[in-house]
Assembly symmetry: C4
Homo-oligomer: 230 residues x 4
């Protein structure tokens, strides 16, 4: 497979965007050394743009991003793609509404994953962003479809754009790569706050009707409040 | 309502000041992604200057700040105002001495809020800045006057310029926006230190007469020690 | 009192040094907003150079540093001196070997201070730098000699250059201001590590003879290993 | 001993590399003040390049790095070598496959060392990098061969490139200095995550066959996925 000429410009823009979004992973402390990766679906093609494997975040450039098809085969790129490419690809194949996928080992979220304990929805910011608890996905080894399957099974029909893969770490999805990065950033933020909160005793989850109300409002109103005509 | 011509310069200065103060929220680690907002009352008018909704901190400019009246209606600005605008507005209407309001989800303070547990006054820095414990406000949903009411009810007649809204996070007030930002920064600082201190057992609050003495001195003497004439 | 002409250059150098050392407090996360201060004794005179009160760390310049006599009276400076000036002055009067004093509310050290619990000497880095536990000083209110007295009483004859003033925070001393800053940095470092270590159960202090051996070596050998002649 | 002329260029490159790698220690928060050091073996000679003792990280330059023989005697350099030079030298003498050694007092790893508790292998990232738990080495005083012996005894035949020397801190090894630095960075990363995870209860280690599978894959496949011919 090759990149259709009509998508040359789209792919170039996505390379730049995916490259830049990795700097949000370092800025918010989600990644260590070369762990963590961002990908974006190429709209209008069975392609994605993803981080190269094993490169330092300092050395990432738009050109070093790798274009793969949705089986994880490299279509364009001088480097090998992220070792998590197959998992990203599985998600894009199974969830057509997903335009971006992010994986990190961010420390607080990974600590919940290590215990296999979902993050309970105890603060309004979690209700806003995740619409409830952040769920645990199954334990799965890298190197087959198991991680991708686990992500899709857990997140299909779930409000949360984040899943904590058991004993591994968070994967997040979004309508585009930026939304998936935001979900990764907020996932670590609430994982940290709820970790602090629950260290000194149990904390009551928010009542479901409050969660529903907060989630509905945040998804439909936030950031779009009407502005004056001029 | 429009901005009176006599206040054009004042509003321009406040736009710049409110914009700049958001960099203190990121510098001290109080905010994640686009959470958190600062506002300032416009002295001499029923107006305030507040952060636009949903913009990244990197993209804030003085021009992007939004001017609203004290009902939360936009008077001047190309963006919609913060989703917390109604809460800020309520505080300005009810507490004429307040010139600045700040809201964050800073992690340690929000952890206390999630437990609904006031921060006990166990260190002299807390007595200095807050004059006692940092209180818990009621649980309130966004989208009505409830948050604003909860802030005002809790802080009216209270020494603390900070309230931890239950299951939500801190709101702080000040005579101006900078003072409210300082209160937000110090609130997270003491929330963190007291979190650490109490993780390994109960800590005795300071005796009330020591708190009174420290608070009185800090509010009236600190930063104003006499200097030589030349 | 005035600055002797013979010391003009010395004082100018100390103003620059004390100003610069404050950037180490922010770099290592020891201070929040304007809390925390560094001073240096002026060798050959009953004078010291100290941080101005209430100024932001960004705004510190060598010129803004304040020269005081050892009663805390301002001798030269456009700003009022730190509110902790009297405590620094007391230490310089009582301990002639001390050339620098630092005070912070660094979070982990202050957490130990809030509990009134000395930091046990459980790691070799603590034996190296502090020669044993970091002791707790008495509770003392600002505004008299009590804090200074508490520091001097606790540290006189003690190996540790750091004391945790009860319910307040750490004060550190050194042969010069840089050494006192290093002690403040290392105090927070070990306060943090020992906090982490003891969160999950008691940790045995190092045997005294190991502490003695490590302390002796570090104070007498470290940083001075012989180098080749050319 | 002197540096053979044939190695002049190699040594110059290693000085620059070792110098630069220290910036990774500060970037990832592994070191405080002057603690922590990196060394590299000089291939083809019984020499190593190591950090000078007691210099601030800001002041390190390639020229300030010290060349020592594998008994720890300085061969070239204007400064004394790190006080941990003898330990590095011992490791190079005993483990010919090791090309780099790193020592830090990174806080989470040192907390495990203070308790004398190995870090259990509870997350896939640990299986990848360390192939099992990170072991505890014996308590040993600086100033003899004891630390070096303890490192070698613990790591010989062990998958982990990191050892937590009891009551002291982590030492890591690698085929070169960069690999040893990576091991130090990842050691602190997993020490932190597993600290968080285990604070709220016991966490089950991964089954051995999963650890074996992950370790094998990571060591042999990661970063080397095949790329297209052009």
């Amino acid at each position: 497979m090759t990149i259709p000429t009509s998508l040359t410009e789209t792919v170039a823009k996505l390379r730049a965007e995916v490259c830049l979004l990795h700097s949000e992973l370092t800025r918010w402390g989600l990644v260590t050394w070369t762990s963590g990766n961002v990908s974006a679906r190429v709209p209008g093609a069975d392609l994605m743009v993803i981080k190269p494997s094993g490169l330092s975040y300092d050395d990432l450039t738009p050109e070093s991003m790798v274009v793969c098809d949705l089986d994880g085969t490299v279509v364009d790129g001088a480097h090998g793609p992220s070792s998590d490419t197959d998992s990203h690809a599985y998600v894009y194949r199974a969830m057509p509404e997903v335009g971006g996928v992010v994986h990190t080992h961010s420390p607080y979220a990974t600590a919940w994953a290590a215990r296999g304990e979902e993050i309970p929805c105890v603060i309004t910011a979690m209700a806003d962003e995740f619409g409830g608890p952040i769920p645990i996905g199954p334990f799965a080894l890298i190197g087959s479809d198991d991680i991708g399957k686990g992500i899709v099974e857990t997140l299909s029909g779930h409000r949360s754009p984040a899943v904590l893969m058991r004993s591994h770490g968070p994967f997040t999805i979004g309508k585009n790569a930026k939304a998936a990065v935001k979900a990764a950033v907020m996932c670590e933020d609430v994982a940290r706050t709820v970790h602090f909160a629950t260290l000194r005793g149990p904390v009551q989850p928010l009542p479901q009707h409050h969660i529903d109300s907060l989630y509905d409002r945040y998804q439909n109103v936030y950031g779009q409040r009407s502005t004056p005509a001029a």
